[in-house]
Structure formats: structure tokens, C-alpha cells
């Protein structure tokens, strides 16, 4: 790890010290670079936590209050599971996904518009470091919001946590998937309007129509087929398996679809970063 402390400076001419830093750019300093960007991205959303954490938790709790009140007596999506209990993991995962997307996309578009992206473009970040830090912070925000929703909703219908590792795997991978989509959207968009378009016309419908509020098995044949083409459906369904050990689709299939989708979007994001698409002219 390269450090410059007061003692070093007294012994070395500064330019020579800097040169030694430059030439010793080993893995230690690369790890520090990555950790710093990750920490900065996390501190960024934490500092405005009212908006980035508390607000989405409140939204999800309101959904639960309204939908469970109206539908509890009329709908049973999974055998032996109350509608409220069924709805909670769906809302948790929806919050995880939407907030993971919002984190990387809004961070990038803000720093693009403010001009502060230059502070990330001047240091020697590799595409992997940029990808890891932006997506990593998105995963953390998604999980923090998801846990917040869970904490404030468990009282309504205590969850079973029948297969918690499945819930964790889908939660983290789903957040990574949406964090990556947010990264792509943030790189592509030049203004907030374009980003809002991406969010409202792609991410929002895909999450709403993925079985958060219902089981797709209860849908007519046509819409069931359409739902199965939506990768978000597999994220929600797989996450829900972690709670009830029951799902519309075998969780291994859902995991396979999610991993494949993640590999594709991660490949696109890494390619954009390597080319400096819209970042370096």
C-alpha cells in the first residue's frame, strides 16, 4: 500500500516521492482507489438518507397498508400463504431493485451535470474498479432499503424465512443487476429527463408487472407467457422462494435466468466503461 506520511516528505523531494508512488502503482493502491470510490458512493446516498432510504421505505409500507387491506380477504396467491405475507417479499424486492437502479444512475447523471465526474475520470480507475464501486454502492443501498421495508412490515405478517440463503442470493444479485442497469442508464443519459424516461418507462413497468402484487400463475395464459419473458419476474419469484420455499418457477431456473441477464448487462456496462462511451470524448 502506498502512503505518503510526514516522515516520508521530510526525507524526499516531493516530486521524487510522487514519482515513486507513480512507479509503484501495485495492487495495494488499486484496492485503496476502489475502496475510496465505493465509500464515497455510499456516503453520498447516506448523507441524503431521508430521501434515499426513508422515503422508499415509507412508500413500500403505504403500498402494503393499502393493498393488504383491500385484497387480504379476496386473494390467495400461494397455497397456505396469506396475501399480506405474500406481498411483503414482493415489496421488499421491488424496493431493493428500484433503489439499486436509482443509486448508480442518479449519482452518474448528477456528477455529469455538475461537472464533478471529472474527479473520477482524472484518477487511474480501471473499468473494473468503476464498475465494482458504482454497482457495489447500489447493492448496499438496495439492501439497506430492502431491510428497512422488511423491518417496518414484518409486524403485519411475520415471515417464515424458509430458505434465507435464496432470499439473500436473489436480493444481492437482483440489486447488482439493477445497479448495473443504472450504471448503463447514467452513462447513456445526458439529462435528468432521459434518465426519468428510462426509469419510468422501462424499470417501473418491468418491476410492477413482475408479480410483486400477484402470482403470475393466476394470470391468463397470454400474460403468463409475457411475464415469463420479463427478467424481473424471476428476481421477485426467486426472492419470494426464500420466504415460503414455494414459487411459480423452480428457483434454480430463476437463478440461471438472473445470472445470464446479469452477465449480459455487466458485459455491456464494462464495454461502455472501457470505451469511455459518453465519458471520454
Amino acid at each position: 500500500m502506498n502512503t505518503v506520511d510526514a516522515g516520508d516528505r521530510d526525507r524526499l523531494v516531493p516530486a521524487a516521492a510522487a514519482l515513486s508512488i507513480a512507479s509503484e502503482s501495485g495492487t495495494g493502491s488499486a484496492l485503496v482507489s476502489f475502496r475510496t470510490l465505493l465509500a464515497k458512493e455510499m456516503l453520498r446516498f447516506w448523507k441524503v438518507g431521508f430521501q434515499t432510504i426513508a422515503a422508499p421505505v415509507l412508500t413500500a409500507v403505504l403500498y402494503l397498508l393499502v393493498f393488504s387491506h383491500v385484497l387480504e380477504a379476496h386473494v390467495q396467491a400461494l397455497p397456505g400463504v396469506s396475501y399480506t405475507a405474500f406481498l411483503i417479499p414482493g415489496l421488499v424486492m421491488m424496493s431493493v431493485l428500484q433503489n439499486a437502479f436509482a443509486n448508480s444512475s442518479s449519482s452518474l447523471i448528477q456528477s455529469k451535470i455538475m461537472g464533478s465526474l471529472i474527479f473520477v475520470l482524472l484518477p487511474p480507475f480501471s473499468r473494473w474498479q468503476l464498475f465494482g464501486a458504482y454497482v457495489g454502492a447500489s447493492v448496499v443501498r438496495g439492501i439497506v432499503v430492502g431491510l428497512g421495508v422488511l423491518i417496518f412490515t414484518v409486524g403485519f405478517a411475520p415471515p417464515a424465512f424458509a430458505a434465507p440463503l435464496w432470499a439473500l442470493a436473489f436480493g444481492v444479485l437482483g440489486a447488482a443487476m439493477l445497479g448495473t442497469l443504472g450504471l448503463i442508464a447514467g452513462i447513456w443519459a445526458d439529462k435528468f429527463d432521459q434518465l426519468a424516461g428510462f426509469q419510468n418507462f422501462i424499470v417501473m413497468p418491468a418491476t410492477f408487472l413482475s408479480g410483486v402484487f400477484y402470482s403470475v400463475n393466476g394470470l391468463p395464459e397470454f400474460w403468463r407467457t409475457v411475464s415469463h419473458l420479463n427478467p424481473f419476474f424471476y428476481m421477485i419469484d426467486g426472492f419470494r422462494y426464500g420466504f415460503f420455499a414455494q414459487s411459480d418457477v423452480n428457483p434454480w431456473i430463476s437463478l440461471g435466468v438472473l445470472v445470464c441477464a446479469f452477465v449480459v448487462v455487466a458485459g455491456i456496462a464494462l464495454n461502455l466503461l472501457a470505451r469511455g462511451f459518453k465519458l471520454r470524448q
Partner: protein, 309 residues
């Protein structure tokens, strides 16, 4: 060893050529000036050196490391003060600098950060949020961000544009000290007197091409002698008007070969019954060189433009 080597760099944006086959070398430890009018390509060149913009053709190396193929070491060697006043509104001054330091792989950099803060007069604002700072203070933070990893090569793109005299003096004192300690400094500025006072060598850019590259002293020697600005009542005699090079606000600008000619001009004016109302005598400065070079170039460029029309 060369601090910055720019070899045959061309940058095109569609049909616009921002840089046209630029060759340039900045030696280690130099204080180098990059001058030119707006749109000459200075910022494009700096952006290519910093890896923010990719050249259409040609190569750039910083401390011997190619800015594309060996970007890690090239960027570690370089600190850039950008022209645009950018800041991250979420953080304090110190957080901004600690993050920037970490981006370059440095930890335990507090002592140097404190020293940079003190040298730029920022110590008392270290814990202020960036949003709360004035424009001048934000610019100081930009300078601090560029220096936080102690780069051997420091590029300042118009660092004193729109800042007060106090910051200018603080900044130049600090940058001079860094230069004395071995850092290479590249400066672009609109204030030619700053370039003349600070830079050992100067490149002048115009329309994407280097039109002059020499030591500041050699550039100044192109315009030898004395410059004399005379405001007179009556017509100046022909023996004086042969030295006329320009006219400014009704005053005649003369260029004389040597200081002794001043007395001769005054005597000729008196003999011709021409009463002198105001008089200014001085040496030619970088501004004269700059204006002359830009004008010379405009003259030579005008011919093909007219021929095409």
C-alpha cells in the same frame, strides 16, 4: 527526461479540427506556458494529456508513460486543475480532498492535505460544505484536488480566471514553490503578464496549431527595442511616423530600436512644432509578441480564404 511529450496529435470533432498535428515537449522541472486565444485548442490539448479526451491520431506520454496504453502511471503522474468550476455538493472540503487522495491510492495523507489546505488559505474552511464556499474558494479546492497526490506534473487550465488578486498571489507563491521543489508546471492563462512572469518557455496555439514555441526571453527578443505611446497636438513629422506600428485611442504607438531614439523623437516633434500631450515609454511585453503573432498569422491566412471565396 521529458515530463510531457505530445507527438503528432490531431483531434477532429466531425469536420472541425480542434488540434492539427501538434508536437510539443515539456521538460522535467519546467514552468511551461500554453497560450492562445479562445478556441485555439488549449483545453482540448490538456484534456488529451489528462485522458479526458481521446486524440483522433498521435500519442501523448506523461513522464514517459503513454496516456492510453499505460494510463495508470500516466494519470498518477499528473494533477490537473480544470477550467470549469466543478464540485461535489454532498461533501465538505476535507472529505473532498480525502476522497480525491484515496482515488489515487493514497491513505494516511492527512499531513499533506493539511499542508495543501494551509498553503491555499483553506484551513479555516476545511469542514465547510462545498456548497457554502464562494467561487474563489471553490477554485482553491480545485487546485488542492489536483495537488493532493503530489503529482510530478501539474497542469493548471486558466486557474486564475475570475479570481481575486489575493488568491492569485497565494496560488502563484505555492505553485512557484512546487516548481522549485521539482514539479513540472504547465499553465494556460489569459493573463499574459502572468505567463511572462512565471513561465520559462511558452507555446502559442492558434486554430489548433503551435505557431510559436520558445523560451519566454527569446519570444520577447523578437520584439526588440522600446515601445513609445505618444499623444500629440498637431501632425507628427515623417521622421517620427516611420516608427509607427499602431494607433490606440487616438495615441500613436511607435517602436524604436533603442532607448536613445526616444530623445530624437521628442526633438523631431519639437522641431516640427508638434506639442506632446501625453507620453508613455516601455519595453515590449508578451502581449505585443502575442498580438503580433496572432496578427501575422491572420495576414498569411487571409490570402487562401479570399482565394477560396
Amino acid at each position: 527526461m521529458t515530463a510531457i511529450r505530445v507527438s503528432g496529435v490531431t483531434k477532429r470533432y466531425g469536420s472541425l479540427t480542434a488540434l492539427d498535428s501538434v508536437d510539443l515537449e515539456v521538460e522535467r522541472g519546467e514552468f511551461f506556458g500554453l497560450l492562445g486565444p479562445n478556441g485555439a485548442g488549449k483545453t482540448t490539448l490538456i484534456s488529451i494529456i489528462a485522458g479526458l479526451v481521446r486524440a483522433t491520431s498521435g500519442t501523448v506520454a506523461v513522464m514517459g508513460h503513454d496516456v492510453v496504453d499505460d494510463y495508470r502511471v500516466a494519470r498518477l503522474s499528473l494533477g490537473v486543475v480544470p477550467q470549469e468550476l466543478a464540485f461535489d455538493p454532498f461533501f465538505t472540503v476535507r472529505e473532498t480532498l480525502v476522497f480525491q487522495s484515496g482515488y489515487f491510492g493514497l491513505t494516511n495523507n492527512r499531513a499533506w492535505i493539511d499542508e495543501v489546505l494551509a498553503n491555499l488559505g483553506l484551513s479555516s474552511r476545511a469542514d465547510s460544505n462545498m456548497r457554502a464556499l464562494s467561487g474563489g474558494m471553490k477554485r482553491r479546492v480545485l487546485v488542492a484536488q489536483a495537488l493532493v497526490h503530489k503529482p510530478p506534473v501539474i497542469v493548471l487550465d486558466e486557474p486564475t480566471a475570475g479570481v481575486d488578486v489575493e488568491l492569485r498571489q497565494t496560488l502563484w507563491a505555492f505553485v512557484r514553490r512546487l516548481n522549485r521543489e521539482g514539479h513540472t508546471i504547465v499553465l494556460t492563462t489569459h493573463y499574459l503578464e502572468e505567463a511572462q512572469a512565471l513561465c520559462q518557455r511558452i507555446a502559442m496555439l492558434k486554430s489548433g496549431s503551435v505557431i510559436a514555441l520558445d523560451t519566454t526571453r527569446a519570444l520577447l527578443s523578437h520584439i526588440e527595442g522600446v515601445q513609445m505611446i505618444v499623444r500629440a497636438r498637431g501632425v507628427l513629422p515623417p521622421s517620427v511616423l516611420v516608427h509607427r506600428i499602431d494607433e490606440r485611442d487616438g495615441a500613436i504607438v511607435l517602436r524604436l530600436a533603442q532607448p536613445a531614439d526616444v530623445g530624437r523623437v521628442l526633438a523631431d516633434c519639437a522641431a516640427a512644432g508638434c506639442e506632446i500631450e501625453d507620453l508613455e515609454v516601455g519595453r515590449a511585453d508578451l502581449e505585443d509578441v502575442f498580438l503580433q503573432l496572432m496578427a501575422d498569422r491572420a495576414e498569411s491566412e487571409r490570402i487562401p480564404v479570399l482565394a477560396n471565396a
